[in-house]
Symmetry: C2
Subunit: 371 residues, 2 copies
């Protein structure tokens, strides 16, 4: 299979796999696709270790890193550069009523507090310029092929830094207007992501969005949102994309370090078990729908806070839930495709299975017009 | 192009066009697709006239009729058979607070009352067994090729009546479970409709839904939701569908009797200008998003009523708005595809353009795997 994207990166299949798990990233790249490591949860030091590991296990195949530099967030105008100072200033912006709502919700579900030794305080993540930029600096010291930005256009100087190292830049877009802005700052590949995708996502479906983005920009477009098998890959390509960007399907592969409770929920879920909610980060993200997401929509909800305050508010709570038996509150980013995920396979098999089904879909389509 | 669906109906292209406008239905069937008339707004007498007109203008090509027989609705258990008696009983179930909310909303926007001679009272439409069944009886006296049901599985005896006349039956499904139920009652074709579709719609996107439905049933599946051009048609077929079911794109064709205000709004809209809302009928339907849909989501909203009470509550209001200058309140069913609709063409040209683009998309895809 050959598109501008396979040529750009020297990959066999235009299948991009977003994952926070280094094992998945390396496995997909080795299988002929391209793994992209989500840097969000890592400190610069941790990211350095992860990328070093990937370098050692990717057999020289290309891989990418995904950071989150939102165009707008609370505190962006505080003029605070150090993450520690920024956290301090932002903590003061979280209303007491919101803290009480979270405490009461956890108490109602019998979720115990974190033990003394648990490391609380990793609350800001890579969701600000101050925290994402050091991640970018670490990433660009490694032989990465792609730097992707998950929330809108990356800062122009970051694009320049990447290009200076021969690294291509991608950005996720949920409207054609976003895509045009991204290309204006120099993005090489647009990931057009439909509302059915997991994590931060817009309102327009993949089916409707892809042709609009393809028509709006000259650079190659990857189709994202609802892509989990070869028929969906073929559909994305039929819409005009030159490759696909996938995420949720890697949560249940053998290599994934997904917590057991989450893995089980995904394998059991239907495609109606997700919801677009601001309850994770303050920006709309598709999450597993459960009593957590319901609570934030209820009459008692104080409403969500803007990014990054919402995650600062809920991060310890989510950690406490993850260590408790309150599975009914344990949410995480997940796309509608989880309804079709019901077995655990090695990542490489998922890549090859997708390609095989893609070829079958193409053959079937050819027969329709021969008849 | 040949699928089980083109064979079943003897049509040239597996393109189904849902429209409330007889001119569109006849034009699409004459162009080699299949027009399907939405019967909802017609009394049995009106429907008889519409179908007679289509019979005279369709040049012997097959066409269909779409009715709405919801599996559940308020008043279904009242045991009232006459539409008039049913309306009387149902009117008493609408709370005064709801009537006041609607009156206040219209007053705030300066919408005048209906004039004396305007025919108020067409409030029930074909949304109950009592009102849809006479439509079915009228439809089956005409040489229709397809009877479609828009809200869930049709009653088993209706399927039998249709089959006895050699008429195929289709039903819209928004989950794989719905599709299985429909096939159990004898449906011949499942229309798998994604959340991006206009009108009554579920939560799962077309990209995610179609393969799940195709895998769940043996009968042919049509892809619906977000299908407006040939690339989207190709995507639907790549997902496993054997044809496409389209709706919103016919609102702006030359032949359509769409009110001028609505046509203008559609041509200007982006794909973010729709919303799934219960404010039209009480069941979630994708509508043009505006001050009407916003009002029902506001803090002042009394909440919506179950079908058919909500439409009984709002039907005169929507008619008043339609005759006023309050364009900001004028809503109607519309899918996300309206963001891509920006010119007015004859219906036949839309059919041929879609087929042409489909063929181009197929050729482009073939080249990708040759490379």
């Amino acid at each position: 299979m050959r598109t501008r994207v396979t040529d750009m990166f020297g990959i066999e299949f235009p299948i991009f796999a977003f994952s926070h798990c280094r094992d998945v990233v390396a496995a997909v790249s080795r299988a002929g696709g391209m793994g992209v490591l989500g840097a969000l949860y890592f400190t610069p030091e941790e990211l350095e270790m992860e990328l070093k590991w990937i370098d050692d296990h990717v057999d020289g195949r290309p891989y990418g890193v995904d950071v989150v530099m939102p165009a707008s967030y609370a505190g962006a105008d505080l003029g605070v550069d150090s993450p520690e100072d920024l956290v301090g200033r932002l903590q003061g912006m979280i209303p007491e009523g919101h803290r009480k709502f979270v405490d009461d919700l956890l108490a109602a579900h019998g979720v115990p507090p974190l033990s003394e030794e648990a490391d609380a305080g990793k609350v800001l993540l890579g969701w600000t310029d101050a925290t994402a930029r050091p991640q970018v600096e670490v990433a660009l010291k490694h032989p990465i092929a792609l730097l992707a930005n998950a929330l809108g256009p990356p800062p122009a100087d970051v694009v320049e830094m990447a290009h200076a190292k021969g690294v291509k830049v991608a950005a996720l877009a949920s409207t054609p207007r976003h895509a045009v802005k991204q290309v204006e700052v120099g993005v090489d590949v647009v990931v057009a992501q439909g509302t059915e995708a997991g994590g931060h996502t817009g309102e327009i479906s993949t089916m409707v969005l892809i042709p609009q983005v393809v028509d709006a920009v000259e650079v190659p477009v990857l189709a994202a949102g609802g892509i989990g098998n070869g028929r969906q890959m073929a559909a994305g390509m039929a819409l005009g994309a030159e490759g696909v960007w996938t995420g949720s399907i890697w949560l249940t592969v053998e290599e994934a370090d997904t917590p057991e409770m989450a893995r089980r929920r995904i394998l059991e879920a239907t495609s109606r078990d997700t919801v677009r909610s601001r309850s994770w980060t303050g920006k709309p993200a598709r999450l597993l729908k459960n009593e957590w997401t319901d609570a934030w929509e209820s009459a008692e909800s104080p409403g969500t806070l803007p990014m990054p305050l919402q995650f600062m508010l809920v991060s310890d709570a989510l950690r406490r839930i993850g260590r408790s038996d309150a599975a009914e509150l344990a949410t995480f980013p997940a796309g509608q495709i989880i309804g079709a995920m019901n077995q655990v396979k090695p990542a490489g098999d998922v890549v090859f299975g997708m390609v095989e089904e893609y070829v079958e879909a193409m053959e079937r389509l050819s027969r329709l017009t021969e008849g």
